[in-house]
Amino acid sequence: MVLLSSALAACGGDSGTELIWYTNPDTGGQAKLAEKCSTDDYTITTQVLPQDASQQRIQLVRRLAAGDTEIDLMSLDPPFTAEFAEAGYLADIPDGLEQKLTDQSFEGAVDAATWEDQMVVAPFWSNTQVLWYRKSFVEKTDLDVSQPVTWEQVIRAADENGGKVAVQANKYEGYAVWINALFEGAGGRLVEDVEQGADATVTVDSPAGEDAARVVEQLASSKAAPADLSVSNEGTAVATFGSDAGAFMVNWTFVWTAYGDDPVSKDIGFTRYPRTVEGEESAPPYGGIGLGVNAATESRSEAMSAVECITSPENQAFYANDSGNMPASAAGYDDPKLRETYGQDLLDLFQQSVEAAAPRTVSPYWSDISLSLQSTWHPPSSVDGQTPGQSADFMSQALQAERLL
C-alpha cells in the first residue's frame, strides 16, 4: 500500500506537488486563481466547503484534528482564525511574507489575521456591509440619505411607507454579525479581556447592549420587518430587497452585481452602515477571508508561495472582479475594471467602511460567544430590554462550559 502510493507520487513528480486548497463557496473565482497561481513546481486544486461559515469551521476542524495532511491551504472566515491558531492548526507565516502582507493590507484586515502578535492567515479579501436602499422608495420618504442615518430612522421610514428592511436574522453566524455591529456602533464590546480565553469578561449587559436590543426590538415589532425575518440570511435579504416591498437592506458588497440585468439593479442606492445611536459613528461588520496554511502540510514552502501569489493585489482585484468580494488592500482597489463596475463612489464607501469596520471578537471562543448570542437573541421578536442581561449570564456560563450551547 505504502509502496504503491509512493510509486504513484513518483509518477506524478513531473507536474510537481499538488496543493489542495479548501475554499468557501463562490462563483468560481478561487478555482480560477488556483489555476492562475499554479506553477511548474506545484498545481493548486480546490475543494469547496459548505456554504454556512460555521459548517466550514466544523468540516475543517474535524480534518485538522485528525492530523490530515491532505489540506494545504484553506480559506478561513475571520472569526475562527483565533481558534485555529490557538489549536495549532495554522503554520506561521514567514517574516518576509508577513511584512509584505502587513504593508499592503488594511489595518482591520491585519488585526483580524493576527493572533498573539503573529500573523496566522494572509488577508485575501475584505468584506464589509453598507446600507443599500431603493432610490425610488427613499424618494417617497423624508429620509435624507446624504447624511449619516440611524437604524431608528431607517426602520421608521420603511414602516411609515410600506417598505421592508432586510437584515440577516436567522439563527446563524450572520445574526451574530448584525448584533456585533450594533454593539460596536454604540461604542460597546461583547467581551473584554479576550486574552483570558474562557475567563474573559462578558460585557453584553451594558448600555450598548440596551441600544442594540432596542434596534432589534424596534425592527421585529414594526411593519418594516420582512415576513421571513427570523429565517433571513444574505440570500433571502437580496430577494426581499428586490421584491416590490423592498426598501432597505444591510448586506455585503456582492449585492451590487447580484441583480444582474434586473430593473432593480438600476434602482439601488448605497450609503454608510446605519448608526446604532445618534451622534456615534457606525461600525460596519467586517468579513472576508484569510488564507491559512495547514501546520501539518507536507509542502509548506510551496503553500506559502501559493499564498503570496493568491493574495497579491493584482489577484485580489482579479478576484473582486470575478466574485464581487472586495480586496483586502488599497492597492487591490486600484483597478480600472473594478472602478468601471462599481464606480468610484461605491469603492470609496467600501474602503471607508472596511477601515471603520469592527471585527467580531478575536478569541478562540468566538463560536461560543456567537452561539450564546444566537441562543438568547433569537427569534428577533423575543428581544426586549431583558435580553442583554439574560444573554450576559448565558454567555458567561457557556464560556465556562457550564451551559449547553
Binding site: 490557538e86 439563527k171 429565517v231 427569534p379 462550559a401 449547553l404
Partner: protein, 321 residues
C-alpha cells in the same frame, strides 16, 4: 403473508430443539460450538461498534475536553452530567423529542390503520397500492425533508397557496419562523415517510384476524364500531404493540428531518440533535459524551417502559421462540 409461521412448523422446531438439548452428548456439544462460531462474527461486530465506544463515552464524559483545546483536558467527575441535567436546553430538547414521538406515532397509528383497512379490503390494483406505499418507506429521509421543506417554503412552496383558505394559514405564513409551525412541518415529513411502514405492519396484523369471528360478531348484531373495538383491535394487539414500540424508538431518535429543515432553530432541536451538536459541531467531546450516555439511558428507559406498559413479549412477537 408468506412469512407467517404456521403453528405446527413452529412446534416441530421446538421439538427438535428439545431433543438436541439432552445434556452433554457429544453431538450437542459440537452443535453448541458450531452455533457459537457462526454467531461470533456478527456479535463481535455489533459490540465493536456499540459497546466499546459506549464504554469510551462513559469514560470521556468524566472530562472537560474540547477538541480544539486538548491541553485543557481535565477530569471533572460528574460535572458534565450535573451541567446537562440542570440546563433548561436539555429538558426543552427532551420535551420536543417526546412531543414529536407521541404525536407522530399516534397520528401514524390512526392513519396507518386506516390505510391498512383500505389495503385489506381493496380487491383491485393491490400491486399498485403496495408499490406506491413502499415509495415513501424507501425514500431517503433527507429527500423527504427537502421535499416538505420546499413545499412549506415561503417563496417556493405550494402549501400556503393551496391551503390559504384555512383560517390559520395565510399566503405569507412563515412555516419555519416560529416553534409550532416548524414543529408541524418537521412532523409532517416524519409522518409522511413512516406511515407506510406502520400501515404494512398493521396490515399483516389485520390479515391474522379471523374473518369468521368478525362474521360471527356481525350475526350477533354488533355495529361496525363495536366489531372494530371488540373483535379486530384486540386480536391485533401484538402487531400494534410491536409497531408502536419500533416506531416510537425510531421517532425518539429523530435527527435527519430536523437537520435539513430547521437545523434546530425555533427551538425545534431534539435530544439527538443536541448531542450531535456538542460533539461534532462544538467539539465538546466530554459534554457530548455525557449527553450520549444520557441519550442511551433515555432509550433504555423508554424501551423498558413501553415493554412493561404494554406487556409486549418481544421474543414472542418477533417470532424467536
Amino acid at each position: 403473508m408468506s412469512t407467517a409461521v404456521s403453528p405446527d412448523q413452529r412446534s416441530t422446531t421446538r421439538k427438535t430443539g428439545r431433543q438436541a438439548r439432552s445434556p452433554s452428548t457429544e453431538r450437542s456439544r459440537a452443535e453448541n460450538r458450531l452455533g457459537l462460531k457462526l454467531v461470533a462474527p456478527a456479535v463481535v461486530l455489533m459490540l465493536l461498534v456499540t459497546a466499546y465506544p459506549m464504554l469510551q463515552a462513559l469514560y470521556l464524559s468524566l472530562f472537560r475536553y474540547r477538541l480544539t483545546n486538548p491541553d485543557d483536558r481535565q477530569f471533572i467527575g460528574f460535572d458534565n452530567y450535573v451541567t446537562a441535567l440542570s440546563d433548561q436546553l436539555f429538558w426543552q430538547d427532551l420535551w420536543n423529542t417526546v412531543v414529536i414521538m407521541v404525536v407522530t406515532v399516534a397520528v401514524e397509528l390512526v392513519i396507518g390503520f386506516a390505510f391498512a383497512m383500505v389495503m385489506h379490503r381493496v380487491i383491485f390494483a393491490r400491486g399498485v397500492i403496495r408499490t406506491s406505499i413502499l415509495i415513501p418507506y424507501g425514500i431517503i429521509t433527507v429527500v423527504s425533508a427537502f421535499a416538505w421543506q420546499f413545499a412549506f417554503s415561503l417563496n417556493n412552496g405550494f402549501v400556503n397557496g393551496w391551503f390559504s383558505w384555512l383560517p390559520w394559514i395565510a399566503a405569507d405564513t412563515n412555516w419555519f419562523g416560529d416553534h409550532w409551525h416548524a414543529m408541524f412541518a418537521i412532523m409532517v415529513s416524519e409522518i409522511w415517510k413512516t406511515t407506510p411502514f406502520m400501515a404494512l405492519l398493521l396490515l399483516a396484523g389485520l390479515s391474522q384476524v379471523s374473518e369468521d369471528m368478525i362474521e360471527a360478531a356481525k350475526v350477533d348484531g354488533a355495529t361496525w364500531w363495536q366489531r372494530l373495538w371488540k373483535v379486530i383491535l384486540p386480536n391485533m394487539r401484538a402487531a400494534i404493540m410491536v409497531a408502536v414500540l419500533f416506531r416510537a424508538l425510531d421517532a425518539f431518535r429523530i435527527f435527519d428531518n430536523i437537520f435539513v429543515m430547521t437545523k434546530g432553530a425555533q427551538e425545534t432541536e431534539s435530544s439527538s440533535f443536541l448531542t450531535y451538536r456538542q460533539v461534532i459541531e462544538q467539539f465538546q467531546l466530554g459534554m457530548g459524551s455525557a449527553l450520549s450516555v444520557l441519550l442511551f439511558l433515555s432509550v433504555l428507559v423508554l424501551a423498558y417502559g413501553i415493554v412493561k406498559l404494554f406487556r409486549v413479549d418481544l421474543s414472542q412477537a418477533r417470532g424467536e421462540g
